[in-house]
């Protein structure tokens, strides 16, 4: 056979490859172009902006690390950082225990299981504005039913909940656990259903009681699920903002201000400082990145 033919075949083949590449790109393009412009570009822009000074009116000015130096002396930022961590330390274990407990209860052979599952899910899908409004009324320090009940029970120093400096954070944490536990319960339920029933059977044949089976079989088998839930919970707790906005407005006296709240205030309230807001964003990004890296490491370790 001549070389011409092979060359022709190669040419035809590469033409075909080009065509199939183009077809594939046409599938991806609508989403990817949108994603690039709306997400990737601002992400890169955010990093650059963190090293600049900009009020949106005057020209952008490169100022190096000045924003980050300013952060170190910024009391509101420090408060926001600490609060974000406190909020995480409060919500992550509490939500974890509540959702695991609920999943274990629902994994028993109970009637009306779907009803209970649906009900625990209501708070998660419900509009935050609406449920926060009820929460504020129920926990109203002067008139709310919670404090009415407490005062009937003879409690003297009634908690001031969202209005109290010491109780505001606890109030938001309780609200957050209430709102989100249904979601993580479903993840745990899936994890529990993935456990091989033979393992539990073997344990009970060996004479282990429910408690032993739980500690020695169920919990270790749930390790990947728990790991995943902890990561998800931690990341979403770092991003918290709207719950504070609606229950405490970040107060009283910045008692519940968070990183994202601070970003919002710096960028969109008062005179905008976009560069400075981006520097705070970088801190948030690094926090989330650390958790994500831990997740990648953990996930590859499991395999």
């Amino acid at each position: 056979m001549s070389r011409d033919n092979t060359q022709l075949a190669v040419k035809r083949k590469s033409k075909k490859a080009l065509r199939s590449n183009l077809v594939a790109y046409s599938f991806i393009a609508p989403n990817f172009i949108g994603f690039c412009v709306i997400t990737l570009v601002p992400m890169v822009f955010a990093i650059a902006l963190a090293f600049c000074k900009w009020d949106g009116v005057h020209d952008i000015e490169f100022i190096g690390l000045q924003n980050f130096k300013d952060l170190l002396g910024d009391r509101v930022f420090k408060k926001a950082f600490v609060n974000t961590i406190v909020f995480s330390l409060g919500t992550v274990p509490l939500t974890l225990i509540c959702s695991l407990g609920l999943a274990i209860l629902l994994n028993q052979n109970v009637k009306l299981r779907n009803f209970f599952r649906t009900v625990s899910f209501f708070p998660y899908v419900a509009s935050l504005v609406a449920v926060a409004a009820v929460w504020n009324m129920i926990f109203s320090p002067s008139m709310g039913p919670i404090n009415m009940i407490l005062s009937r029970l003879g409690v003297e120093n009634l908690p001031r909940w969202a209005a109290g400096k010491d109780t505001a954070m606890i109030t938001v944490i309780l609200f957050s656990v209430w709102k989100n536990m249904g979601y993580y319960m479903v993840i745990y339920l899936a994890g529990l259903q993935g456990i091989n029933p033979d393992l539990k059977e073997a344990a009970s044949l060996d004479g282990a009681n429910r408690w032993h089976t739980f500690w020695n079989v169920t919990l270790p088998q749930l390790r990947p699920t728990t790991f995943f839930v902890v990561i998800m919970l931690t990341i979403s707790s770092f991003k918290v903002y709207d719950q504070m906005y609606m229950i405490t407005q970040g107060g009283p006296g910045n008692a519940t201000i968070t990183l994202v709240y601070d970003i919002y205030n710096v960028a969109f309230v008062n005179t905008p400082k976009y560069g400075y807001a981006s520097a705070i964003s970088m801190v948030l990004f690094i926090l989330v990145l650390i958790i994500t890296l831990i997740q990648f490491k953990g996930a590859s370790g499991d395999n």
Partner: protein, 287 residues
């Protein structure tokens, strides 16, 4: 073992089981009550006069119910406009999200092409970046294009998430490749395979994506808060929040508006619940 002891052991085990089950039911009922009470309180208060909302002991069923709240709220704030805006945004975003991400996911799952890994890495790289970390430059960009105070901004913000692509890709990878091969041999183009085979097969995944996008867009707060400052453009969440801060003592009206804001999501959730649960269980991802 003699028979009587076995019987005693058996009956004591049964008794233990009965005690455990009673305990479980009591706990479950308590938790269900904890989850539901705020909603019941909300509905109850929405039928009360302001002065009756906080009467104690709680009057769960108002003695003289006042449906007037549900009539007044429509004139107090432009609630109908808010609902129309939210419905419009939710439908458009959900449609675009499902269409573009299932389209892209098909290519990532079933086609071979140059740069596939690099492009997909672009999506993965963004997982670690919370939207809140780049919302500021994104807003600056949109404002430079004069898109602040437009619904288009919210649509663009929500419609192209990586979440949809991941969800659909995962599903498509579970579809046997032979199915596509056979269709190709039959002369179907890639677009035909997507439209006639993959999309119909992926209805469960599409339902999951629909309900997630619907709930997220309907309930979204921070996005509309930053972008929509004109009253006639606001969504129900922002509108409701505005009403709460303006008329903080109108308890009955606030609760009536809250009930109205909740209803659409609850309807969608209750009718597509199965897919919601499956979606979380299989991906565990959150918008």
């Amino acid at each position: 073992m003699s028979e009587p002891t076995a019987m005693i052991k058996n009956s004591s085990r049964r008794r233990n089981h009965a005690i455990a089950m009673t305990f479980i039911y009591i706990l479950l009922i308590l938790i269900a009550a904890l989850m539901l009470v705020p909603f019941v309180w909300m509905i109850s208060a929405s039928f009360k006069m302001n002065k009756d909302v906080f009467t104690f002991p709680i009057e769960w069923i108002p003695s003289n119910p006042r449906p007037q709240n549900y009539i007044d709220i429509w004139t107090k704030i432009p609630l109908l406009t808010f609902i129309k805006n939210t419905a419009f945004l939710t439908v458009v975003v959900t449609f675009l999200q499902v269409l573009t991400s299932s389209f892209a996911a098909y290519a990532f799952a079933k086609l071979q092409f140059r740069g596939k890994n690099i492009l997909f890495l672009g999506y993965i790289a963004t997982i670690a970046v919370p939207w809140q970390a780049y919302m500021v430059p994104q807003f600056m960009m949109m404002r430079a294009w004069h898109l602040n105070n437009t619904h288009l901004a919210i649509i663009l913000l929500q419609a192209f998430s990586a979440f949809g692509v991941f969800l659909m890709k995962q599903f498509y990878e579970g579809v046997p490749t032979e199915l596509c091969e056979a269709a190709r041999i039959d002369g179907l183009s890639e677009y035909g395979i997507y439209a006639k085979i993959m999309l119909p097969l992926s209805l469960p995944a599409v339902s999951t994506l629909v309900i997630f996008t619907f709930v997220n867009t309907w309930n979204d707060f921070l996005g509309p808060l930053i972008y929509l400052t004109k009253n006639e453009l606001k969504t129900i969440q922002i509108g409701l929040r505005m009403f709460i801060s303006q008329y903080s003592a109108e308890y009955g009206l606030i609760m009536a508006a809250s009930v109205i804001a909740l209803i659409p999501v609850l309807i969608v959730f209750l009718s597509l619940q199965k897919y919601f649960v499956q979606g979380i269980a299989s991906t565990g991802l959150k918008g």
